[in-house]
């Protein structure tokens, strides 16, 4: 470290934890927590969500530590604390490992070992299976790796009941199927960056046209998957309306991306904008879906129609 190295601020350590991903993860975990058929004490609910936040941050920090070489090459990520030299790599790794342990301990003492174990597994899945293995080796990296980001509602559910029933996995399926169209919309735009960094993202390996087709295919699958909570009775009328209207908009945007030249070598500014608008809407859609579940279950607005519920628990 030389005297010209800027001093690490608290903000840099927060950035290591990927705060925006953390917010979405806590939000979906909260949905699982309130949708589960029992009530938790305020203190234990808060602790469970805090543990999920810390676990997400821990996984983010380990990811930043391992990916510093890639991040340095890519325009979008070159200003992150590690590639910019504001935080030492060893500090990021110790922060990640230490916070992983703390988060699992908090989850386990506040709720139960089932939730603690699933939290530990999802940190491992993101930091090791996705970051260290899949990301650099297969174009299916974010498809499989998306599971890491999809676990939180199941963790939230398990925190309440100590079990992981089919209803909870229906919430898992939403984020899991949502991740490919969400992420590939962004990687179409950052196509060149990923190529330069040698990351085998789908547009790099299979080409932009193939990726645009897969975005459309996963979007259709997403429309099916978002209906599961309705059949299981987890999602009420508000959720159903949000899923249906948002799903149509999502599909319209995906069709626009499919018809565009986003990710091609001769991509124009409007193609770029088309892909970015799908990326932006995908975030809003996921937040609205899980927000609807929270509104229904935490604020007593869960109206449902027997005609919609075809399966009500084993």
């Amino acid at each position: 470290m030389t005297a010209t190295t800027p001093a690490a601020s608290v903000r840099d350590y927060i950035d290591l934890m990927k705060p925006r991903i953390m917010m979405l993860v806590v939000f979906t975990a909260a949905a699982g927590l309130v949708a589960a058929p029992a009530d938790l004490h305020f203190v234990t609910s808060f602790s469970a969500l805090l543990a999920v936040a810390l676990g997400s941050g821990a996984a983010g920090a380990i990811n930043m530590w391992f990916d510093a070489d890639i991040d340095a090459v890519m325009t979008r990520t070159s200003t992150r604390p590690l590639p910019a030299g504001r935080v030492q790599p060893g500090d990021a790794l110790s922060l990640g490992i230490f916070m992983s342990i703390i988060s699992v301990v908090i989850m386990t003492i506040a709720t139960n070992w089932q939730a603690g174990a699933l939290l530990a597994f999802s940190i491992f899945f993101y930091a090791v299976i996705y970051t260290m293995w899949l990301k650099r080796s297969t174009p299916q990296n974010i498809v499989i790796g998306g599971a890491a980001g999809a676990f939180p509602p199941v963790i939230g559910w398990a925190a309440v009941t100590g079990t992981m029933p089919l209803e909870a996995w229906a919430l898992f399926a939403i984020t899991f199927v949502w991740t490919p169209p969400h992420f590939w919309a962004l990687s179409l735009v950052a196509n060149k960056d990923y190529k330069n960094a040698g990351v085998p993202m789908m547009p790099v390996v299979k080409g932009a046209a193939n990726t645009r087709f897969q975005i459309l295919a996963y979007t259709l699958l997403l429309l099916v998957v978002t209906a599961f909570p309705v059949f299981f009775g987890t999602g009420g009328l508000i959720y159903t309306a949000v899923a249906a209207i948002g799903g149509v908009v999502f599909l319209a945007l995906a069709i626009r991306v499919f018809a565009s030249k986003a990710g091609d070598a001769d991509m124009e500014a409007k193609d770029r904008k088309t892909a970015l608008s799908l990326f932006a809407f995908s975030i809003l859609y996921l937040a609205l879906l899980f927000g609807a579940l929270i509104v229904e279950h935490a604020f007593g607005l869960h109206f449902t129609s027997p005609a919609l519920t075809i399966w009500a628990g084993a």
Binding site: A3, A7, A8, S9, V43, T44, L50, I102
Partner: protein, 87 residues
């Protein structure tokens, strides 16, 4: 004087010392918050356990009847009833 390891003889700038002080302060706050959190979780979970134990021993010794299929100590404790169970 023994030779000083260069790693430990860095001259920090005023700005770096200030940034380090701030980081340490935030760490101290986090540690205090963590202690408070573990304490609060412990109190809440102990209360749950104590309530559960009281309920278990009550159902075992008082002769209260639980609903069929429910073991002693399972299920929520009954609401305080206006009718006395001794009658």
């Amino acid at each position: 004087m023994p030779p000083v390891d260069p790693e430990y003889s860095l001259k920090l700038t005023q700005e770096q010392v200030k940034a380090r002080k701030k980081r340490n302060l935030v760490l101290a706050l986090i540690i205090v918050a963590f202690m408070a959190l573990v304490f609060t979780i412990t109190v809440v979970r102990l209360q749950e356990g104590v309530a559960r134990q009281a309920w278990t021993s009550a159902t075992e010794t008082s002769g209260w009847e639980t609903a069929p299929g429910i073991q002693s100590g399972e299920g929520a404790p009954p609401e305080p009833s206006t009718e006395s169970g001794d009658e």
